[in-house]
Symmetry: C2
Subunit: 368 residues, 2 copies
């Protein structure tokens, strides 16, 4: 591995969005996943993301978040210049958010390479992360759109996959991308795992800002032009023009067509990565093999007898669990969730029901 050293031309772009619906009631629209400490580390996922990036980018970090969360982001990141926390007027998917950051950086630092890393993922092997980003930046400098492909640890049908192609000459550990594939069936995912030629798409991209915008312009010249115009005078134009931007994921707008055109490469890596997609994922991430019940929070509050799973005593109350396996109990001051690891994905249905009840006036607002 290469030594972990700052890359003088690298900017980190951190899109901080998404409500984390499947982590309700810990994650809410008013207090989303990235603002929460979901690992018991004492740092929110956003703060941990910043901590992980500092050795690589020092103070070159741009956060793009919703206007509603900008104050909280600034408060959580006192080391970051508030001018580097950009507020989207409203959520317009990842192409607009990351494209805006690219357009701002293109003007600010024309020689820069940018790396985009979500604010709400966990990476436990920071040395491997630094190594992968360093390799990715080297390829990005030459004009490639570079992604980091996570080594799958299971045949998960919950992620998109990256199909590896040939080695990129002159860049050890970097491969061409044959294609991005959408979330597969479990059976197809099993096949992917067996070939050893597929990686999870964690949405990490390293690229020169101008390259990203030029790739976007090939498919949607107006979108790229609008981003560059906004970046030239954001105070005057951001609010006015934002709602006219297409609502589309960067994968669809740029990465997939660019891969088809042979313009994308990938750095495969095993990073101890987890997107904490639901409480099953969180239980696996925090799981302590020495204890049957994993506690996120104050262990002294939990009395577990003949039970296993995840307990989050976040309301300061005693939580007793008796005779349930793989249970998920999340206790917050105004809402309680009881489910199982196997049904963790279905928590979004609860949020939908609560939203509907709040909207039609039969339920309480603020719970989601």
């Amino acid at each position: 591995m290469q030594p972990l050293a700052p890359l003088d031309d690298l900017w980190a772009v951190v899109p901080a969005g998404g409500a984390g619906t499947r982590l309700w009631p810990l994650s809410r629209s008013a207090s989303p996943k990235f603002l929460r400490d979901l690992t018991g580390s004492g740092r929110s996922l956003l703060q941990a993301t910043r901590d992980r990036l500092v050795p690589l980018v020092e103070d070159r970090l741009l956060v793009v978040t919703g206007a509603a969360h900008r104050d909280a982001v600034v408060a959580q990141l006192p080391e970051v210049d508030p001018a580097q926390v950009v507020a989207e007027p409203s959520a317009r998917d990842s192409m607009a958010a990351i494209g805006l950051a690219a357009a701002l950086l293109e003007r600010r630092d024309p020689g820069a390479v940018m790396g985009s890393f979500a604010a709400d993922h966990v990476i436990t092997d920071e040395a491997a992360f630094g190594d992968a980003v360093t390799r990715a930046a080297a390829a990005a400098r030459e004009g490639w759109l570079v992604t980091i492909g996570i080594e799958p640890t299971s045949p998960s049908p919950g992620f998109g996959y990256i199909h590896l192609g040939d080695d990129l000459p002159g860049h050890p550990g970097v491969h061409a991308v044959r294609e991005f594939v959408e979330k597969p069936s479990l059976e197809v995912a099993r096949g992917y795992l067996e070939t050893g030629r597929y990686r999870w798409n964690a949405g990490m991209f390293v690229v020169r800002p101008g390259v990203l915008l030029d790739l976007l312009a090939e498919g949607d010249p107006g979108f790229a032009a609008a981003l560059r115009e906004i970046a030239a005078d954001p105070d005057a134009l951001l609010a006015a023009r934002w709602l006219d931007l297409p609502k589309i994921a960067l994968d669809h707008a740029v990465a997939e067509p660019a891969a088809a055109a042979g313009r994308v490469v990938v750095v495969p890596a095993a990073l101890g990565w987890d997107d904490i997609g639901d409480f099953d994922s969180l239980a696996g991430l925090l799981g302590d093999p020495a204890r049957s019940v994993t506690v996120l929070g104050e262990r002294g509050l939990v009395v577990a007898q003949d039970a296993s799973g995840l307990v989050v005593p976040a309301a300061g109350r005693v939580v007793a669990v008796v005779g349930l396996d793989d249970v998920v109990v999340v206790d917050t001051p105004d809402a309680l969730l009881v489910t199982t690891r196997a049904r963790a994905q279905d928590v979004k249905g609860v949020v939908a029901a609560l939203k509907e009840a709040a909207d039609d006036g039969t339920g309480r607002p603020g719970l989601t």
Copy 2:
């Protein structure tokens, strides 16, 4: 059935004790089962017991409770003369509690018959109850120790049983008691149910106070004499002599030996009786076949998806349950229980663990 009319010589004795450990965290030593509304009726179990007895005894009701709960009992029963709420200095099992009531009544109303009925049981068929008590009182007037034997609805190993003997001449629907049997195995209980000759022992006794004390005196003359001495001057003697009284159940001290001597009769009855022994029992009692999840409390607080069981949202918070069958979720302001109906009996283990933690200083006091 005989008409439900007051029995002029009948006094109700209501022992109000027991923490209801298996109903934690709803029931606590500071706020025991009998003081709680566990059926959603708007009345505590104690109040419902009094309501059920008033048509039979009018104002002739004596409550025996722990000193710690006397104020709460008096507050919950504003219609009862506070002089008729007797405080035990400490818990000394049922013989001392009911024996004290008998000794007090023997002096106050020498012609009385007393019926002892626990403060924390549910009876849904009040007409059948009135009929059974009326028959029991008729036999008690003639000097019998009379119990009411509950028709079993299942082969429960959780109750003691009463073995029916011959009919009592002149008293239709009254039988001799062959014996009281302790909690049987499930297999033995199944056999009892098949014979049709066994009834559950719900601890209901109807008897002349003097007869009860004389039966006690046959086995333990000092105990009976002490109770009569205390009753002659309770203000001076109750506190001083209470701790010298034997700690024994009425069943062992009187009912079992009296049955062996052929002095006990039983009125078999189907009363819709339930002792709400645990949350499984409570779920069965409240179970609404039209709904998969039974809610004790505010239904609007509960979001249940693909779930069944009992949810008690007693903290005013939203409770979401997803993908769990026969689950028990009891949410109170300072403690939460998550278990299953099948494991409801094991809740007492949680209380034991919390008590131990509070005693050794590692846990919070007041939780049990």
